[in-house]
Amino acid sequence: MKVKSTGLSKVEIPMAPMIDIVFQLLIFFMLNLRIIAPEGNFNINLPISAPANAQTDVNLPAIKVALRSDRDGILTQLMIGTTNLGNDDGAFDRLNHEILKIIGKPGNPMTSEIEVELDADYECQYRYTVKAISRCTGRMDPQTQQVARYVEKIKFAPPHKPKG
């Protein structure tokens, strides 16, 4: 019986289907990619409707920060206690400085007890409120890029009525 000897021949793998699948995957991932800017949270402590006497274990008075605005919601006055900090871009930096003066230094144990009460006008634009919360919460060290925490507890004062 004669056995035909088959010589070793190179087997070519067809690459076209693989390239097709790779292109399909590429199109899928390209269409599903969503580029979203990173977002962060500012936690609010204490519900608005909670009565003031529910805070029996806090001995330190709340730091009152007031935001006053015009009818369009543009900030006209930023105050801490009775001190007027102005309404320019530096007003919030001054707020940050005042908060630091009150707590002494970042990481002070009293920062876990002390509260900031935000009292904003009804029309005041939300971005000013977030800025105020941020400046009360802490400060970014420009050299180390670490966040120095100031006050941890932020709450809202009862809401004002609209200016009409």
Binding site: A37, G40, Y126, F156
Partner: protein, 158 residues
Amino acid sequence: MKVRKIEMGFTEPDMTPMIDIVFQLLTFFMIAINFENTKADERVRLPKDMLAKPPEVKPEHELVLNFGYERDLSGNKKANVPTVFYNERYVEVGNLTPDLEQEKRIMESLHGKDVIDKVTVLIRADSEVPTGLVQQLIKKCQDNGFSKFSLRATAEEK
């Protein structure tokens, strides 16, 4: 004069570099893609802040409320009253109670009656929304049993 005849043959282009580039692109998109359903509505223009860093520990249960203005293609507001973007609808804060009750029912049916105390309401509000309305939204959520709140902002690079 003898003219040599040049035979036109089919030249196969080398596909290897193209396949390499395609694989590079595929790898990039596979790494960059994020399938997490952040419920981040792009219509809401969040305020920017340097301290707004992504939380290290994500809340176990969260309810995301996108609160902003309906805008046209050029970015101008269509109405002066901001609304909550909920399930493809524009719901004013005063009319949000049925939707919040529904959310509460769904969460309780999925995770038990006690879950409502652990749910964090993430408020993604447009930077131009009046603070009073944000407070009203918080109050509405409180009236429906939610007690933990977080305000969202975009990380600002300086």
